[in-house]
Symmetry: C2
Subunit: 84 residues, 2 copies
């Protein structure tokens, strides 16, 4: 079966997000003063062949832990959907 | 009201994703040969004060078009949720 996975990767709470702070500051200098707490992470999409949705999820989780994300500094959230 | 917005920013179809290709190649050289079509984008989270959910969405959309995303090369998808 073919699955499509989306992974949201975010810096862990407590780790200073310099890029987010910079974007927030720029937004405040435009007309977006009501925006706060901007945090910038990564968004990864991929296709995967696997026998079941659970095994697809486990393979993507392993790939995130070993290569895609930095488990010391980042959290990740995986969504897997079957592709028709 | 206070809202939390998540924005997935992806490179448009047809634009070469060099970072994604590099990650895909690295995954294939590990045990992840079943993964294909890796594309890497940005994930932005923020809080926003707005009178309604629709106005929060519109403000985030404007911020994406003017600063956060590059509308020539990138597509973005916004999810807005009310914060308790």
């Amino acid at each position: 079966m073919k699955y499509h996975a989306s992974v949201d990767i975010t810096l862990r709470q407590g780790i200073l997000d310099v890029q987010g702070k910079t974007v927030e500051h720029a937004l405040h200098s435009m007309e977006f003063g009501s925006i706060s707490n901007v945090r910038i992470g990564k968004f990864v999409e991929l296709n995967i062949e696997a026998p079941t949705q659970d095994s697809a999820y486990e393979a993507v989780k392993a790939a995130c832990e070993k290569l895609i994300a930095n488990p010391i500094m980042e959290d990740f959230h995986i969504t897997v959907k079957e592709v028709a």
